[in-house]
Structure formats: structure tokens, C-alpha cells
Amino acid sequence: MTTLTRARTGPFAADYAALKAAAWLTPARERAWERLQEAASPSERRGNERWKYTDVRPLTSVPYRLAHAGALPGLAEVKKIAPWDDAWTTLTFVDGHFAPALSTEPTGRVAAGRLATATASVQSLLEARLAKVQAIDEEYFTLLNTAFLSDGAYVHVPDNAVEERAVHLLFIASPATSPRVAHPRTLVIAGKNSQSKFVESYVSLADSDQHFSNAVTEFFLDDGAQVEHYRILAENEKSHHIGNTRVHHMANSRFNSISFAIGPAIGRNDHHALIDGPGAETNLSGLYMTTNGQHMDNNISVNHEKPHGTSRQYYKGILAGKSRAVFSGIVVVKPGADKTFADQKDLNLLLSPGAEVDTKPSLEIFADDVKCFHGATAGHVDLDTLYYMRSRGIGLEAATQMLIRGFAAEVVERIKLPALARYVEGVTEKMLPEFRLEVPK
């Protein structure tokens, strides 16, 4: 508690008091700041089930100050570190501040822009959804984000709109001399029977500065809406990242998401889906690759409140060095949510004796007519397979890399945007030499 109390009253308080934001955002901010004082501390180690395997004290003990707008990087520089496709509509934020020079105007029927400059008609549309998606948003980090809500991205896909052009929400951390925090915020409203695609990426310009991204992304899917979503977390190895994704499903809506996470010293992918209409479907998959002393936590929950829902979780992890990965997935099936189908899977490849994986795929079922499954595996690359390959003249390193590539491919191959697939493959290839097999003696 002590570190958190310091964090609340220390640098955060000064920054909060000094922050200027649009008037329409003020009620939500003030409410969040107030609730924040009461929120359970994520750094509490005893009986804190939501943070059981992730100790956030290294994060909460850093005196993070709010990042101010600085010099913008060039487009060529951005293209080197972030996924990019000229065909996408891109909204870029540098340290939480909108960067028009690195952004493109939306075309077609999709409305996209900044929260800070939203017109009155857009405001009234967003106000009904912003920071109101779910009760779980009483969490410390989501409240913190809302308290610092001064800008962010919004996307509104009108009813029946079918948009082939992906919207890219790009959040860049520029080089920092002292520890800096940004609170990226996104709200997406997908109208009835609409179809849309999103890429959400988080990257750092510098390799070794320390910054903290505390992101919140909210999706509201109206009846029959279909959303394809990609989340790329590729910030530097010193950074801290807490990513909260909240998806609210109305009837027959569908959300397909792939998360790709490498990078931060402490990373948390906190994804919560609420099945609030019959027949909704949520398919979540992810690949996390960690090395050195990294810590990556996937906290995935799906709440089935209405019948005929489907949810799938498919996560794969590759761990090297002294890194640690966590998967805690939970599926809750509420009374009356009959005919629910839910599946959870977490598969892990451990490459070194220092790596650790903690996985907890749990189910809470309050209805009887359901089909729910979960599974988890952890283990080395198959030594027999490796032997087979080596006996045919493939070197240890090449053989290991082939097996890792194959393991990762099951998630990577699901990416349907060619430019993004190339980016992920490129990043993975570049990392592979760091993912060496260490056989214990």
C-alpha cells in the first residue's frame, strides 16, 4: 500500500492538478480521480488474486511524470519501428499527444479523430460510452488513465458500414531523459451490422529510456457489428506497459483479436470482454515472446451474461533468458447464459532454465447448459524432433529456430493484414537469435 499511496499523492497529484482538458471530459476525470483514492492497490502482495503473479512495485516505485508534447519524429523513423501501410487510416499520438503530421485523414464512412477536439454532436455520441463500458473499470490503472484523460482517439463506424480500410491507432513514446508516463486512450463505437478493422500499436523511439504507457481501449460493438482487431506491443525493454482493453458485445456481434507482445520490462495485457447480447462471439488470440528479465502478463477475462455466446482464447508464449510470463484467463458464465461455448488455451515454450511461466486458466459456471473447455501446456522444444532434425544435418540453432517459428506461426498466420503480417514476421525474425535453447546440464 505504501508505494501506491506515495504514487497517488506524489507526482501524480501535481500533474493531475496542472492538467488542462476539454470541459466535457471533466466529470469523468473528476469521478475517476475520486475513485482512485479508494481503489484496491495493485501492488498489494497478499491475497491480491488479480495481480498474484505480477509484482508491479518496480513500476509503482518509479516517479513517473506526465509526458509533455515535444519534438516529433520523422515519418521515415516511425516506419522503421512501427507497422505501417499507406492504405490505412492512421491516428498517431506521441507521448499521448496527437501528431497531425504523422496521421492521415479518414476516408469513407468511418469517422475518426481526437477526443479533445470532438465536435458537439460527436461528444454526445461518445459521452454515453466513454469510461462506462464495465464495472471492472474501477481498477486502479483504468481509473488512473481516466483521471488523466485529456486526449485520445475515437472511431465511430456507422450502422451497416463495411470498411475495408484499417484504422491504425499508433502510440509512440519519444526518447525521454527522465521517467515519463502517457495514458493513451481509445474509444471505438461499431454501429449495427458494421464491419471494421483496427491496428493498435505501441512502440518506443529510443531503446533504453524508461517510460510507462497506461493504455485503455474501449470497444462498443452494437448488434451484429464485426470487428477485426490487432494489438502490437513493441515498446523498449526498460519500459512499463499496462494495456487495458474492454470490449462490450451486443447481440450477434463478433470481435476477432490478435495480440502480439514483445518488449516491456513489465507488460500487462488486460483484456475483458462482456457478452451482453445473445449470440455474440469473441475470439482472442495472442503471441508473447519474452527474454532477459522481462515480465509479460496476459490477464484475459470473458463474462458471458447472455445465452448462445461463444468465446475462444488461444495464447502462445515463447520464453527465453530469465523472463517470466503469466496467463490468467477466466471465463464466467452467468445464470441464464445457456448454450454458451467457451474455450481457453495457453501453450508455452520454455527455452531456458531461468524462465518461468505461470498459467491459470479458470472457469466459473453458473448455468448448466454450457460447453466449456480449457487447456494449458508448458514445456521445452521437443528434443526428439530436434534430434531428428540434427541427424539430418540441420544445426542446433537453425533447428531450434525452425521449431520456434513453427510454434509462433499458429498465431502469426491468423493476421489478415499483409503489411502487419510482414511487420510481425520481421520483428520475430530479428528477435530469434536471442531465443536460444539452453539445455540444463
Binding site: 491475497g47 488474486e49 445464470p335 445457456d338 508455452n348 520454455l350 527455452l351 531456458s352 532454465p353 524462465a355 518461468e356 511461466v357 505461470d358 498459467t359 491459470k360 486458466p361 479458470s362 472457469l363 466459473e364 459456471i365 453458473f366 448455468a367 448448466d368 447448459d369 454450457v370 460447453k371 466449456c372 473447455f373 480449457h374 487447456g375 494449458a376 501446456t377 508448458a378 514445456g379 521445452h380 539452453e438 539445455v439 540444463p440
Partner: protein
């Protein structure tokens, strides 16, 4: 053995479905209600225990008092119950005849024998039993022990815990608390302070115990907690199979049961521990019943040792129980087979822990949970692979069956891997009894209840087949009786 199912009822709560609910009038020797250092000393003195054991109890008591004052009982389990008043309970209840312990069955209090007969513990039918030696614990004090002579010839010690303290103090001192330390958890600390009796078994090196050792627990005195302590040691190369059955009469008040079981298997030894637990589950609307907070743990200490837990849990208002194995020796094996049932208002939070420390250790978990009525059934398990456990493997399968729209099923597995050469597989499923299977069986003339029972029997076979034969028959019957009237 199956006659145990058909015993008659006497008084207690009028609950037709609980056939084991009868109260026996035996004069009991009660210590005053409440818990303090004096009571702990009283129990210890009553049992003429050596100084070190009294101190051991007191240490546990002091630790428990500290816990009670700070965090209290653990709150992480998915069970709900009113707070337990530990001062409103008897901590010692023994049949009066204790001081002049009977030498043979003829000397045993006939009323008590009748009680056992109703339970179906066939003390009088030893010949028929052939293969089961019974050390019956009646309100915590061992009443009669059979087959002792046969076992004695082989050097096997099988007696009540109090006898072991008197006759084999070295063994008790060496192993007591070595697997479940007094400070392990709230209920284990409580048990360590006030345990009244229990069973003790020691199988010497290279001996294969020819019979299945069996203890039958029964809570009799109203308002008394049962705190038994079991300690089983299989020395190098030994084998023992141990059976435990539990029953309590119907009582309006709730009863607390906080037992501790410790198993130790040395090099090449194997211990198989089977439990059928049908303590009084409370009435249909959740009145009464046993609160079962049990700590069971085995240490596969030696190379190539093996510990296997099999449990069928149909009783108790609350079950809080995680029979675990510490796989310390290289190449050691741990197994956990469980069927847990929660009907009406029962709550079961049960599972296992497999802690892999040694190299090439292997564990298997098969857990089946059935939830019916307003029952709440939680599988909670942990598989932990420590850094030194090279080539450890674990396979976990846990399935849940839902009967009726109001029941609850939770699955909470914790998997922690710190060694890359380990291989773990965890699989779980939750579903209701298949409509197709029900339709198929009913179209062939089975009633819905019989059809459901048949499906459940098949579904839980993987676990039941691990039980010794007589127990398996009883387990199937128990599942049927416990689910009476619960058809989706």
C-alpha cells in the same frame, strides 16, 4: 461391504436421504467447551503424552491464536459459511471405557458395536472381510483394532495415534509435522494443538502390507469437533494401501472436522490412500452438516517412491480439502484421483497440489466434479515445477458435470513452471449430461434417473476404478444415493 448402504436411521434431523444418520448413546467424557492452553494441556495429560508433544501442541496453539487474531481462517476458497465460534465447541470427547481399553471385540461396548454394525463396519465379520483390518475411530479414540496379530508378524505397526505415541515415540517424533508443519495453515495449526486421536501406520523396509488397512471415522458427540491425525510411513521398498471412510450422524448444529493426514514414502516405497467421505451434508435447504477442513499431504521423499490419493467426496456441507504430494525424491510419482459431488446446498472446494522438486518426477491428476441443485463445486489445483525438477511431467484432466440450472462449477488451476525440460498438460471441460445419451438410454426403457446414474458411473469410472473393489461398489452406490431426485 455393500450392506453398509442399507443401515437404518434413528433420531436426528428427519432427512430421508441421509441413511447414516443415527445417534448412539455412549457415555462420553467431555472436556469443558472452549479452547485455551489449559484445554490443550488437558488433552495432552489425558493421553499421558510426553513433554515434547505437549510443547509441540502448545507451540501450534500459540501460532493458531496469532493467526486467529490477525488474518483468521483462509478466505480464498469459494465457500460461504457463518463465522465459526471456536470457543463454543468441545475439543475432547472420548468414550468412558477408554481407560480400560478392551482387549478383544467381546469387551467392546455392545452399543458401540451396534453403531458400527449400522455403519456397516463389519468388525464381527472378519472372516468374510478377509483383507481389511479395521482400526475404527469413534469420536477420536480408537476402539478396536483387528488383524493386529497378522500385521505384527510382518513388523507392521498399525494402531491408534495415542498408542503410537506411547509405544513408538521415536517414529512419531521423527515424522510428526514433517510433511504438514504446525504452521502450515489455520486448520492444520488448530489440529496440531488439539488433535485427539487418529491412526498410525508404519510399514518396515521391503514389506508389502498384505491387507488393506482401514480406518472408519465417525463424529458422534453433538457440538464436538473431530480433529484426528493420521501418520503413515512406508519405509524403503514398502507398500501399503490405506482406506478411510467417514460418516457423521444427522445433527441440527454444524460440526467441525479439521483433520491432518501426513504420508511419508521413502526410497522405492508406495502408499495408496483411498477415502470415501460421506459426512452429513446438511438438509436439503442447507441446515446442519459437517464443515470439513482437512489438510492432507504426502511426501514422496525417497527415490522412485509413489504416493497416490483417491477420494470420493459425497458428503459434508463444506469440503475444503487438497490432498497433495511433494515429489521430493528423484523419479517419484504423485497421483490424485477424485470425484467430488455437491448437491442441494453443499459446497466443495477441493483439488490437489503437486510440487515437483526431484528430477524425472511425474504426477497425474484426474478430478471429476459434479454439481447439482444449488451445489457449488470448485476444483482448485496447483502444479508447481521447481527449477531442479528436470524432466518432470504432469498430466491434469478435470471435468465437471452440471445438473440443474442453479448449480455452480468453478475450475481454478494454478500452473507454475520454472524448469524448461518439464512437460505439462492440463485439460478441463464443463458440460451437462448429454441430451443425446439420455435420449438413447431412455428410448431403451431406462428411467431418467437410472439413465443419468449410468452416464455418471461411466463418466467417473476413471476415478472409481482406482478404488479397492469393495470401496468402488460403495462409491457408486453413494453417488446414486447422493444424487437422488437430482435430474436435470
Amino acid at each position: 461391504m455393500t450392506q453398509r448402504i442399507t443401515v437404518s436411521r434413528e433420531k436426528g434431523i428427519e432427512d430421508k436421504s441421509y441413511k447414516w444418520g443415527f445417534v448412539t448413546d455412549v457415555d462420553t467424557d467431555l472436556a469443558p467447551k472452549g479452547l485455551n492452553e489449559d484445554i490443550v494441556r488437558f488433552i495432552s495429560t489425558k493421553k499421558a503424552e510426553p513433554e515434547w508433544l505437549t510443547e509441540w501442541r502448545l507451540k501450534a496453539y500459540r501460532y493458531w491464536t496469532k493467526m486467529e487474531a490477525s488474518a483468521g481462517a483462509p478466505k480464498w476458497a469459494k465457500v460461504e459459511h457463518p463465522p465459526i465460534d471456536y470457543q463454543d465447541m468441545y475439543y475432547y470427547a472420548a468414550p468412558r471405557s477408554k481407560d480400560d481399553r478392551p482387549k478383544s471385540l467381546d469387551e467392546v461396548d455392545p452399543e458401540m458395536l451396534l453403531a458400527f454394525e449400522k455403519l456397516g463396519v463389519p468388525l464381527k465379520e472378519r472372516e468374510q472381510l478377509a483383507g481389511v483390518a479395521v482400526d475404527a475411530v469413534f469420536d477420536s479414540v480408537s476402539v478396536a483394532t483387528t488383524f493386529k496379530e497378522t500385521l505384527k508378524k510382518l513388523g507392521i505397526i498399525f494402531c491408534s495415534f495415542s498408542e503410537a505415541v506411547q509405544n513408538h515415540p521415536d517414529l512419531v517424533k521423527k515424522y510428526l509435522g514433517s510433511v504438514v508443519p504446525t504452521t502450515d495453515n489455520f486448520y492444520a495449526a488448530l489440529n496440531s494443538a488439539v488433535f485427539s486421536d487418529g491412526s498410525f501406520a508404519y510399514v518396515p523396509p521391503g514389506v508389502r502390507c498384505p491387507v488393506e488397512l482401514m480406518t472408519y471415522f465417525r463424529i458422534n458427540t453433538e457440538g464436538s469437533g473431530q480433529f484426528e491425525r493420521t501418520l503413515i510411513i512406508a519405509d524403503k521398498g514398502a507398500y501399503v494401501s490405506y482406506l478411510e471412510g467417514c460418516t457423521a450422524p444427522s445433527r441440527k448444529t454444524t460440526q467441525l472436522h479439521a483433520a491432518v493426514v501426513e504420508l511419508i514414502a521413502l526410497d522405492d516405497a508406495e502408499i495408496k490412500y483411498s477415502t470415501i467421505q460421506n459426512w452429513f451434508p446438511g438438509t436439503k435447504d442447507g441446515k446442519g452438516g459437517v464443515y470439513n477442513f482437512v489438510t492432507k499431504r504426502g511426501k514422496a521423499a525417497g527415490r522412485n517412491s509413489k504416493i497416490s490419493w483417491t477420494q470420493v467426496e459425497t458428503g459434508s456441507a463444506i469440503t475444503w480439502k487438497y490432498p497433495s504430494v511433494i515429489l521430493q525424491g528423484d523419479n517419484s510419482t504423485g497421483e490424485f484421483y477424485s470425484v467430488a459431488l455437491a448437491n442441494n446446498r453443499q459446497q466443495a472446494d477441493t483439488g490437489t497440489k503437486m510440487i515437483h522438486i526431484g528430477k524425472n518426477t511425474k504426477s497425474t491428476i484426474v478430478a471429476k466434479g459434479i454439481s447439482a441443485g444449488y451445489g457449488c463445486n470448485t476444483y482448485r489445483g496447483q502444479v508447481k515445477i521447481m527449477p531442479g525438477a528436470d524432466n518432470a511431467t504432469n498430466s491434469t484432466r478435470c471435468d465437471s458435470l452440471l445438473i440443474g440450472p442453479k448449480c455452480v462449477v468453478n475450475t481454478v488451476p494454478y500452473i507454475e513452471v520454472r524448469n524448461p525440460t518439464a512437460r505439462l498438460e492440463h485439460e478441463a471441460s464443463t458440460s451437462k449430461v448429454s441430451d443425446d445419451q439420455m435420449f438413447y438410454l431412455q428410448s431403451r426403457g431406462l428411467s431418467s434417473e437410472d439413465a443419468q446414474h449410468m452416464i455418471i458411473t461411466g463418466w467417473s469410472r476413471e476415478v472409481i476404478k482406482e478404488l479397492p473393489f469393495e470401496f468402488a461398489v460403495e462409491a457408486n452406490q453413494l453417488l446414486k444415493v447422493s444424487l437422488e431426485g437430482a435430474v436435470a
